[in-house]
Structure formats: structure tokens, C-alpha cells
């Protein structure tokens, strides 16, 4: 059953929320960013040698580690010519006092499913090239996301790190008959790089990439994922509250602008985008 996470006492939230709103009216943020500005983003790939692909991405002090393990398996019966991938996410207890040990809770499941939607609907992977023997043998990619340090907004760095890990992921090569070709490996075929931007809403004001203090004081927030042609491929309103219809257009426009900046950096570090 879904129940609300324990939050700070609501009067402290109210005071902070008013402060953030007043700053936004002057075009400012509590951490001296402008409203539509991400925190500093760093991306590092191949950080775990035993994984087929891995990436460590930080946005401010929020840090996400994604690793990919490749196995062989059977395709889905209705898609015999396509490889398989699955996304899992864990909010590690070392990342925040609000995360607890145990199997992924609804927040972890939501994160994994949103990243899955970005990759799947953004057509990030050429799944047909992951097929070895049609109907019998395909590559199976396990994309596992770990939140290492949580200072708000785990969605955007998770999408970035999953994509960076995928773009640098190598797999053993197999012949069309399913024989392992020793000593040779191939890269995961990337078709597109979908990326996301999270926007926070307070009354009629918007901000991007909320830090934890902001996240706790927002009216609501929304994750927007766009592909390289700026098609909307996934959206998730991920907290309670109202979004006025009149803000929707600016939300998509601001997301587009921010994502194009992240994309430029992604291309520089990872080489695709």
C-alpha cells in the first residue's frame, strides 16, 4: 500500500516555501543559482571494471552510480528478434536518512520505471541488434541504478548515468549460431540519447533541478524526458499537488533548453548524444 513518506513539520516547510518563492520572484535561488539552472554536473564512465558498463554521475552533491551486467537469455515470445533490458533502482540507506534498507520501496520502483520508460520510449537501444539467435538467444541487459548520495532530484542524474553506462557498455561477441567468439567484444548499439529535466513548481513560479531543501518545499514537481529530436518520450508528475494548465507550455520549453545543455556535456564526456 502506498503511504506518504514522513515529512518535516508543515510550518517549517511553509516558511521555507515562502522564502523560496520570494527569491524566485527576484529570479534567485537559496543556493544562488538562477531559477532555470542545473547544479554542477559531472559524469564519469567505466568506474566499475567488473561491470560491462558503468557510470558515476553527480548533480551538485546528488550522486548516482549505474552499472550494467550483460547476460544471455531468451527473448520475449512476442518480440523474438529483440534483446531484453530491465532497469532496477535502489535508494541506498547510505545516501539519506530518509532511505531505509530492504527491497526497493515505491520511490525506488518509480525511479526505475521512469528511467525504463525514458530508455524504452526514447528508443535509446537498437534492441534488434541485441538478438543473437532469433526466438532463442538474445543479450539481456540488467541496468542497475544506485543512489549514493541524495541532495534532491535523483531522476535526472539517474537517466544520465544509465545512458552513459549504456553508451560505454561492451559485451562479448557471439556468432549467428550462438557460439562465443573469444577475445572479441561489441558495444551496445545506441540509437538515441533520451535525457530528462526535473522541474519544481511553487505557485506560479518554476525552477529546475531542485536541491533537497527546495524539493521538500515545492508545491509539486514533474520529470520531463526528451529524445535528441526534442520529442517528449516520458513524463512523470512525481509528487502531490497541482500544476496549472497555463504552466505546461513553459515547463516543456524550459526542459528542452536545459536538456540541450546537458546533451552537449554528455556528448563531450561520453562521445554520443
Amino acid at each position: 500500500m502506498s503511504f506518504p513518506p514522513l515529512k518535516e513539520k508543515s510550518f517549517t516547510v511553509k516558511i521555507m516555501s515562502e522564502k523560496i518563492y520570494k527569491l524566485l520572484q527576484q529570479g534567485k535561488r537559496i543556493d544562488e543559482r538562477s531559477p532555470y539552472e542545473f547544479r554542477k554536473i559531472t559524469m564519469q564512465t567505466n568506474v566499475v571494471e567488473k561491470a560491462n558498463g558503468s557510470a558515476l554521475v553527480s548533480v551538485g552533491s546528488t550522486r548516482i552510480l549505474t552499472g550494467i551486467k550483460v547476460e544471455l537469455g531468451a527473448p520475449y515470445s512476442d518480440r523474438p528478434n529483440e534483446g531484453v533490458f530491465s532497469v532496477n533502482a535502489e535508494l541506498l540507506p547510505l545516501a539519506s536518512k530518509s532511505f531505509e534498507p530492504g527491497p526497493p520501496d515505491e520511490r525506488g520502483i518509480e525511479l526505475a520505471r521512469v528511467v525504463d520508460r525514458c530508455i524504452r520510449e526514447g528508443k535509446a537501444i537498437d534492441l534488434e541488434k541485441l538478438c543473437i539467435v532469433p526466438g532463442k538467444l538474445v543479450y539481456v541487459l540488467y541496468i542497475d541504478i544506485y543512489v549514493l548520495d541524495y541532495d534532491g532530484n535523483y531522476f535526472d542524474p539517474s537517466v544520465m548515468s544509465a545512458m552513459a553506462a549504456l553508451a560505454t557498455c561492451t559485451m562479448p561477441k557471439y556468432s549467428a549460431t550462438g557460439e562465443r567468439i573469444e577475445g572479441e567484444s561489441i558495444k551496445v548499439p545506441i540509437k538515441d540519447v533520451p535525457l530528462s529535466a526535473t522541474l519544481g513548481i511553487i505557485k506560479d513560479k518554476l525552477l529546475v533541478d531542485p536541491c533537497l531543501v527546495e524539493e521538500n518545499s515545492l508545491d509539486t514537481s514533474i520529470v520531463v524526458c526528451l529524445d535528441s529530436a526534442s520529442n517528449v518520450v516520458a513524463i512523470q508528475k512525481n509528487s502531490p499537488g497541482h500544476i496549472p494548465f497555463s504552466l505546461m507550455e513553459s515547463i516543456i520549453d524550459i526542459a528542452e533548453e536545459q536538456i540541450s545543455r546537458i546533451r552537449a556535456q554528455f556528448k563531450e564526456v561520453v562521445g554520443v548524444g
Partner: protein, 244 residues
């Protein structure tokens, strides 16, 4: 094992597989107070999609450490029966059901006056009896009716509907087959009086323009659902539609 061929979803006259036009809703049926033991309940039928919702509470929060001193907690469970889908759904909560429980709960939290009931809990259960597309939106529509039926104070009702994109056309209220073979599915929960969005998800590919048109179509489609919700409440609570 062969790849399933995508059927043609819209013919050259713009007519969908079930005979609807792009902006038509499926036949709609709503009723409140359908389950006796709950404090409030509702049944919503949208074509072949059939959903029950029930509300228990406000009651003492359990376990007690979950209680919040200045408001009620709202718990929500969205669940599908094992026989609601083409292939039998495994028992227990799937990852999809856990995610949908969360987004439905968050939508409801936006309109319920939780601060009226400190330290207590309100439980909302959504049970999908048959799934033919649009189950989370039908579930949210039913849940908001069930809350109203339970007499729980709300800022307003929530009406929800999905829009989709099939064969390049933006459509209202996609059925299961349109969702499966279509290009995009976008469930939207709307608070009609304040004209705001309380639930929004998108799965699929839409251009910015299509997304904008999808939002508009949802805003239009919601009116019929909102009307039916108010009628269902009036039928039960004895005010005829013409009087109001």
C-alpha cells in the same frame, strides 16, 4: 513464435476499431455507494474497463508511529484482479501496481483536506475488475467519488482520462489494444474547478505540439466524466440534475 503484426487502429475515415471517432469517450457508467461495508465506494465503467473503489476512514492511523500530528495520512492501493487482463496477472502487487498506487495517492492528496483529521488515516482501495485501457484514470475517477461518498471534505472532485497517439492521430480514452500498439499513452488527472493537473504521466513519443493538443483534448474529454461524477452523486444524494 512470430512477431505480432500491428493492426490498423484508425481507418481512412478516422474511425477507430470500436467505431469511435478520435475524440470520443467509451460508454460511461458510474455509481456511488456500491459496497456496503466501506465508508464510501464507487464503481466506474468505461467501455470494458471496470473498476471499484472503496474508502475506509478517517480512522486511527495504524501502526501508530505513522500518524502525523497535524493531518491525516492517505493510504492508497491500486490493484488488479488476476483475471482482469488477457494473460493472468500474478497475485500480489507488481511493480506497476506499486507505482500507480503512488501516483493515484499523490493525486488524491492534492484535493483532500487532510489537515481536518490530524493523527488519523484514510485508506483508499482501487480494484480493477477488468482492464481494457485507462485503468489508473478510471481508478482515480472512482476513488475521488468514493471519497466524496464517504463524506470526506475535498477541495473538489478529480476527473481523470487518458489520451493517446495511434497511427499519428491524437485520440481520447485509448482502449487496451490502442495503448498496446499505439505510439503514446498519457493518463491525466484533472481538478476541473481549479483547472489544474493532479496526475500526469506520459509513456511514448509525442512532439511538443502533439503533447499540447493531447492536454487540450484531455481537458475537453474530462468534462463528460466530471458531469457523470456529479450526476452519480446527485442520484444517490437525492438532488435531481435539473434542480441544480
Amino acid at each position: 513464435m512470430t512477431q505480432v503484426m500491428k493492426p490498423k487502429l484508425i481507418d481512412e475515415n478516422g474511425i477507430r476499431l470500436d467505431g469511435r471517432g478520435p475524440t470520443d469517450l467509451r460508454p460511461l457508467k458510474m455509481e456511488v455507494s456500491v459496497l456496503e461495508k466501506s465508508d464510501g465506494s464507487a464503481y466506474v465503467e468505461l467501455g470494458k474497463t471496470k473498476v471499484y473503489a472503496a474508502v475506509y476512514g478517517p480512522k486511527e492511523a495504524h501502526p501508530k508511529h505513522l500518524a502525523i500530528p497535524d493531518r491525516a495520512i492517505l493510504n492508497c492501493r491500486y490493484h488488479m484482479t488476476s483475471f482482469s487482463t488477457d494473460e493472468r496477472k500474478t497475485l500480489g502487487m507488481t511493480r506497476r501496481e506499486i507505482e500507480l498506487s503512488k501516483v493515484i495517492r499523490e493525486a488524491l492528496e492534492s484535493v483532500v483536506f487532510l489537515e481536518e483529521f490530524p493523527r488519523s488515516a484514510i485508506d483508499v482501495f482501487v480494484e480493477v475488475v477488468q482492464a481494457d485501457g485507462g485503468t489508473r484514470t478510471a481508478g482515480l475517477t472512482a476513488a475521488s467519488l468514493a471519497l466524496a461518498d464517504a463524506g470526506i471534505p475535498m477541495r473538489e472532485l478529480i476527473a481523470a482520462v487518458a489520451v493517446g497517439k495511434v497511427d499519428g492521430t491524437i485520440i481520447l480514452d485509448p482502449s487496451d489494444i490502442e495503448d498496446k500498439y499505439g505510439e503514446a499513452d498519457m493518463p491525466i488527472g484533472i481538478a476541473p474547478e481549479s483547472n489544474t493537473i493532479v496526475l500526469l504521466q506520459l509513456n511514448g513519443k509525442m512532439t511538443k505540439d502533439e503533447f499540447k493538443r493531447g492536454l487540450e483534448l484531455a481537458r475537453m474529454g474530462i468534462q463528460k466524466i466530471y458531469q457523470a461524477q456529479r450526476e452519480a452523486l446527485r442520484r444517490k444524494y437525492g438532488v435531481s440534475t435539473t434542480e441544480v
